[in-house]
Symmetry: D3
Subunit: 238 residues, 6 copies
């Protein structure tokens, strides 16, 4: 399932590249294309050890809860949009939740996250909170959240629909956009740019690793960072 | 056009009642029915003199802008959702904009508001900003906003769809809900409760006016506020 | 009733002085005595025309509401602390409410405020909100609040006790401290300093009015503001 | 010492139960009883490894400091409310500090915390900060704070009284309420509900562990979460 | 005195134009040139009646105060940077103060503002507060501030230098940039763009007034806003 | 290079002392000298294991970026102030960046930090963010930041000058002030006080270690903390 078109956003080379390059490199590539607002400020990786994530966005939208509609009994409905999302998001996708930046109640808990992992989900991002952090820590699924709250989602959130364009942490996320996470957090790459950004980011990062090694040898910034003609020649020769 | 059903949410008596009672009374009626989160904290009336507003919600949703999509040329599209909303919202409706509480750019400007007024719109509410405050001041249309910003909406907002349930100022607003505004701000009455809330609020307010007159005569709270049996008897007799 | 001691904090001269000097002068006098945190940032005067207020603090403390305790029926209790405060605060006092800076629900409404005015109250200050702004506008009682909300207080607040030391807008307020308000907002003068601050503020303000008249005549800051020996001599001679 | 009554809030079974169930389960039990605001948003556990805490609330209230009252010499007073609280809170209690959410200065330091631990304290919660994080890390006492600050408390706080009802992180806390902490943070159980919540939470969690094991086996949400008749039968049979 | 070069940023025609066009128009012109961050979010006009302001920026920078340096006696120094700025800013300039968005103490008071007015200053902008609002109300000088505080500036601010590039309300302001204010607030036009923006804004606004008159006649958005070929022809013919 | 004078702020004894005492002790010493605002609230240590930092402040100031000035090509300028700062700050200095508390883009990245480390820099402090957290984790340089962001600095920041007095996290920092960091965060010691604070803090901490050992033995606060005559005698005798 692809959301912005019929083909995958990335071939396996592109996907592989995005598993290696950092979000720092990706945001620079996007800035170079005129996009300044692609980093989701707020969500942090829950596990310092499981921070690399790549996948296509599957979006879920929450509005504020209403006490007469959002009662515990709605959880009995297996066709509730939240559960439908978990059961229909394609393998390899990243569930991106618009929780309006509200962390008083959780966006979702780790039983749903476990099912999502079982179905092949690539990761979860919310600008709200998750509940049962201990459970998430045991789960092998990259997850990024802006907070933790034990309170079940319907105390503050009403999951209303899925696969519509959303805002998450004040970044626009369209279904099928490519979501990448690492220690710095999460970036959203517009789908049509994913392949070229992956390619150019890979090249940029190779060069920066060379530059870094030179700096670590004690060279000054001048001539090295950014690389001048000589350094570039050395890079291409090494 | 009604959004949550085929009939109007209010008959003329109910609508008249809501033009007279205050939001302070309405929120108490809603609290008495278990609804604690019905006041839109943030939006303030732009004109102290034109603050009474009643109408059914016509919702508009914004997500964050993306620099390559949200360019000045999109305004040339007469079928842009923002313009479509202005041209299709039924007379008597209140345009409620989910701007995610962001006020750096405006949610809309006063030329669109003028057209909305021409078409019989009852008011505008946004949890974001409006631009051209001077223009709004000359316009006979109750408007509630969380701020002012001269910047055109696409610098921060992408109007994505309309007539879906939204959050506005962290209150759930479903299309067709009844929106009431006064000096204290804006309250959202779930559509199915509008008629009974209008009726009971009218009665509550009559009693409170009587109580207030007694307090203004110098009576103590005890026996008067809340009214005891004697005061109630006096009220019914007056 | 005096709270920090048996005598009044101010004689009539001092009280008169504080009705004339501005909070700008008072805070400078307090700063000169080592007190940097005496201005209540947040509460604004509700009426631009009725902003002068002087009185001794009568404190009221709110904690967050609990849904099972804070139900509408508690209002039937005439001995509820909120009502007791309104009925027992001495004439000339300023009701200062610690609402933890929370404005989602009101700290109090205008029927209680009307009773407080009837009993001779000098003003009301809250770091939360008031409800029924229209009612407050008709009431001849200086009131300072950080916001407006139609929602009744028990949706967010539980009035728990009175006449204890509190924080209001992150300033310490002890019962009996002298509270002064003007267009800039509200300042709290520790009770034992009230008389000397009143006297010195009066003198400072007289001098500043002279300085201002000189500046308005076109004189430069040098020699005039602050006044040098010559300007001081002119001041004492005029 | 019990604060809301003469008996303990929990027997040993209940206390044991609360040491095992998560705050995620407890908040659901409280929500089911109509209480939506029981999680203290803000305070985080200082040690990821020492997060389980159960005890009755012993409350301490701070108001903003005043420069002439809150000077270093007050620490010489062994009967200062802060020290009195540390020396009188009963073994097994949790010290809950209302610091108005202010983290610029600490609520307390680790020497006092060490004494509290020596006296059998079960834990510390503040919606402010603690100082000397390194010291806290070496101390075997669950502690939850909203921040860290090296600055001693009297630079911002005046400890004014103890064992009054307070707000902490915008949750009402009455002396004797049962405070539970885990990785998600801290929840406050009203004292009279503690026993039944402990019992029902234990049962809920057993069922959820069974459900989780099924989800981990690859079963879909439908039929499993929430459990349908068949899954419930399997649960009771396993 | 011009700060970014030797010539004035605007001739009299340009200056006149900017006195007539709104900031809403100016920000659109700047957005069209790729500048999205030119509106100073926060500062509001102090007088609804005196909101039009045009002038070149004269910048003043504040850092946080230090108790041993920022004592009342520094005001005795006539060469204090704050006083020097007031006495040296050229006639027609707008004093723009970087107060780091901090409003607990004032950025300046109305005696200094009166002197600035006497010297021909065109206006004052601060992302902090002003003190003595009543005094400012009597002064014929457009002033924009983010708040009011009676507290003198050195309780929170140390005026450190002037005529350096600053941030004000998170907008870059270079000395000599053209600052325009109206009811919506304040916008900063980079100096080298001021003339062309003034010219094009004037033209845009004339067209929008024509469009508005058409909308007020009852025409639909389609064809009118934005104007199509026919409407443009009508505009040029009218 | 020393910034506030010709001599070093600290001799080797003083510097050694500040490597051992905590910021909790230092802030108390500063409070005792009347300085209440010396802790940089916000920046947190990036490595829990590399938190001890002592050095003289080398300041760098950022203003908001402007899209036409802050483009990727400016990085080609080796004399850009950011690079000049990295190449000229003396060994042993701490780079302190005024990023106005803005964390949407990074203040600097780890290639520059690596060069700074190579040149003998003692640490980095920013009230903004850093990018490439993974890189910083591998770098042996104490770094304190208020957040992480992969976005390169010029998307939000324009580095404008260096070695001027700045505010960082609302604390004044003058070039040459002594900056100390530990697990609690960062404190700024005015240069002229550094030597005496170092000496007195060392003494205070020795005493507190003795007091702590007594508390750990089970002694009550009374007589021990603060130490009475007997405890002081024991301390001096041990």
């Amino acid at each position: 399932m692809t959301s912005n078109g019929s083909a995958a956003a990335l071939d396996s080379t592109g996907r592989e590249a995005l598993h290696h390059v950092g979000t720092a490199t990706i945001t620079t590539q996007l800035l170079d294309r005129g996009l300044r607002n692609t980093f989701l400020q707020g969500p942090r990786p829950l596990h310092p050890q499981r921070t690399r994530m790549v996948g296509e966005a599957f979006t879920l939208r929450c509005i504020p809860a209403r006490e007469d509609l959002d009662v515990l009994s709605v959880f009995r409905d297996y066709d509730h949009p939240q559960r439908t999302a978990i059961e229909t998001a394609p393998p390899g996708s990243v569930l991106v939740v618009d929780a309006r930046g509200q962390t008083r109640a959780a966006s979702l808990g780790h039983i749903l996250a476990t099912r999502f992992r079982q179905r092949g989900g690539a990761g979860i991002v919310t600008d709200g909170a998750v509940r049962d952090l201990a459970g998430f820590t045991r789960l092998d699924l990259p997850t990024y959240a802006a907070g933790a709250s034990p309170t079940t989602n319907l105390a503050q959130h009403h999951v209303v629909d899925m696969q519509l364009p959303i805002g998450c942490a004040e970044v626009p996320v369209y279904p099928g956009d490519v979501i990448v996470g690492d220690e710095d957090g999460v970036v959203c790459i517009p789908r049509h740019l994913a392949a070229e950004v992956a390619r150019d980011a890979m090249e940029q990062e190779r060069l920066e690793e060379f530059v870094l090694s030179r700096i670590e040898e004690g060279r000054p910034l001048r001539g090295t960072y950014p690389p001048d003609q000589q350094t570039l020649a050395d890079y291409h020769a090494h």
